[in-house]
């Protein structure tokens, strides 16, 4: 076995892992393989790995099948978005915000646009608020479909059938969003004070018809997997997030609600027209992998209800403050502010410091997955690898947001 290649220097994370392994073996820890330099194996579940759903790298310390320690390494998709904010005007920056969390780009735009509106002290027109809620909730369903689909696809053979169902229905939603904004994934649709286009003719009926079908489709997903023995055995009781973790690490979104904490910014920090809509915050009790799946499925149903209510209450009127040819260079007054918004993965918001010029002075993203990912060492250690894959899939990470 040719063993003499010049293997380049391991990087910091691997050195840290090897140092920890030496400490445990020095004190006699590790497994029962005596007389070996390392009792545990350090391996990279690297940036290119089918189960990490993106370019996340986990330096995993293994004792046979058991995961002893995990060191997440991120930055493989760092695209300098916060530095680019200083070179783009406020309008030019909207497409970049789309690409932070690329599975829910409409909600990301909403987070950014709300912060700038608060900075400028303007409020969008009422019709635009309703359109934003409709489009945002449609995006939430599509994002949950991808998240739950790829997570279940890793677990059981039935999961691959489920991911096919989910992507088939996601295409229906993307058709609707494409008719509204012209793009399938990167919409660039929201503006400061409203939305760029009004809903096309006949769109409301099409959307209402799809929302009528949606609950049946969601029942189809659940019928596939809910009573599947493999799926239940692999998800129940695994990777429990306690309420202390939520307080310590700032976990938000479905991962927090699955542990029984009713933290949903649409209710705890009402924005836009959510106070007028009635929907419940879906929570579950145990906070294990199955409950996170359960909360996401319930949230899809809630989003359907929200969209239907908004379609009924859709008022008439203009969709953008001022003329459609809005001034494309805005200069908000100096100052700084932060607005958090309920993204499918948690609290997503931008903190903008403006110095009165047309470029943001400093822009910081508060990304839910960045905070949720901090829990991995605590969550994955002590499980078998197969469970670690299930747990990391259920946390639902999007690396575009984590690496910014």
């Amino acid at each position: 076995m040719p063993d003499h290649f010049a293997v380049p220097e391991p990087d910091e994370a691997v050195k840290l892992a090897l140092r920890r392994v030496r400490e445990t073996t020095a004190v006699g820890g590790g497994s029962d393989m005596e007389g070996l330099e390392f009792n545990e194996v350090v391996v990279n579940m690297g940036p290119q790995h089918p189960s990490t759903h993106g370019v996340l790298r986990l330096v995993v310390t293994l004792d046979g099948e058991l995961v002893k320690d995990v060191i997440p390494v991120i930055g493989y998709l760092h695209r300098c978005k916060e530095k680019l904010a200083e070179k783009r005007t406020y309008y030019q920056y909207i497409p970049i915000v789309d690409r932070t969390e690329y599975l829910a780009s409409m909600n990301c735009e909403w987070g950014y646009v709300m912060t700038v509106e608060k900075l400028m002290g303007i409020r969008p027109t009422r019709r635009a608020e309703f359109i934003r809620v409709i489009v945002g909730e449609l995006m939430r369903i599509a994002s949950h479909q991808v998240a739950v689909g790829t997570f279940v696809a890793d677990l059981s053979p039935l999961g691959t059938a489920m991911v096919f169902y989910m992507f088939r229905d996601r295409e229906l939603i993307l058709d609707l969003l494409e008719e509204v904004s012209g793009a399938r994934m990167m919409f660039n649709y929201l503006r400061f004070g409203g939305v760029r286009y009004d809903l096309p003719a006949g769109w409301v009926d099409k959307c209402r018809e799809l929302m009528k079908r949606m609950p049946k489709l969601i029942d189809e997903y659940e019928a596939l997997v809910d009573d599947n023995a493999i799926f239940l055995q692999r998800t129940q009781g695994k990777g429990v997030i306690t309420q202390q973790d939520i307080v310590d690490y700032g976990i938000t979104g479905p991962n927090a609600r699955a542990s029984g904490v009713p933290l949903d910014l649409r209710r705890t920090r009402p924005y836009s027209v959510y106070p007028e809509l009635d929907f419940e915050v879906c929570t579950a009790a145990h906070g294990d992998v199955f409950d996170r799946y359960r909360v996401r499925m319930d949230e899809m149903r809630e989003s359907v209800k929200i969209v239907e209510q908004c379609l009924d209450m859709l008022p008439r009127g203009r969709v953008q403050l001022g003329s459609l040819r809005a001034p494309y260079v805005i200069t908000p007054p100096p100052g700084s502010c932060y607005v958090g918004q309920e993204n499918p993965r948690g609290e997503y918001g931008t903190y903008i410091v403006s110095d009165g010029s047309r470029y943001p002075y400093r822009l910081k993203f508060r990304d839910p997955c960045f905070c949720n990912l901090q829990l991995f060492p605590k969550l994955l250690s002590g499980n078998k690898i197969a469970d670690a894959v299930a747990i990391s899939g259920s946390i639902d990470l999007v690396l575009g947001g984590i690496d910014r």
Partner: protein, 164 residues
């Protein structure tokens, strides 16, 4: 303990008044930013014990750290702490300024464990060193990246682009 949100309902001015009373010396320029944030400047050397006492305030316990942002104010660097109080369901934004030459601050990871990665990111991007941090490495950039890119005076060096 099941977490409730917003059990204590105080108006923003009461919260600001209470905070100003609790930390007369350390906090300055306490102001209210509608609808839910108290903004305050914090003296650099008192960061650690203010953080600890903030977490234990009887009714205003700021138990969760939302995020830390490093901001370059030209002459000084600023580390903005954004903490959340579950009981009053409000935010507190602490601005801590640090001289540009000696950009060092005490770590708050022992008070809010969430600060671990946020401080590493502020170190990586802005170059604010957090003393006592368990594992202060670069988080987003390569280990051998030179400089801190989000500083206004960051010059794009060729050695940061081996694959230019």
């Amino acid at each position: 303990m099941t977490l409730e949100i917003g059990t204590v309902d105080l108006t923003m001015d009461e919260i600001a008044g209470r905070l100003a009373a609790a930390f007369p010396v350390e906090l300055s320029a306490v102001s209210v930013q509608e609808p839910d944030t108290v903004v305050a400047h914090l003296e650099r050397t008192r960061l650690k014990d203010v953080a600890r006492r903030l977490k234990e305030l009887p009714q205003l316990a700021y138990e969760t750290l939302n995020w830390i942002a490093g901001v370059d104010l030209g002459a000084q660097l600023e580390s903005v702490y954004h903490v959340y109080s579950w009981r009053t369901n409000t935010y507190l934004e602490l601005h801590v300024t640090v001289p540009r030459a000696k950009a060092e601050l005490d770590t708050v990871t022992d008070v809010w464990p969430a600060a671990d990665w946020h401080e590493r990111e502020a170190w990586d991007m802005m170059g604010i060193r957090y003393l006592g941090h368990p594992d202060l490495r670069r988080i987003l950039l390569k280990d051998d990246f030179v400089g801190h890119p989000l500083r206004k005076d960051y010059v794009d060096l060729a050695e940061n682009h081996p694959h230019a």
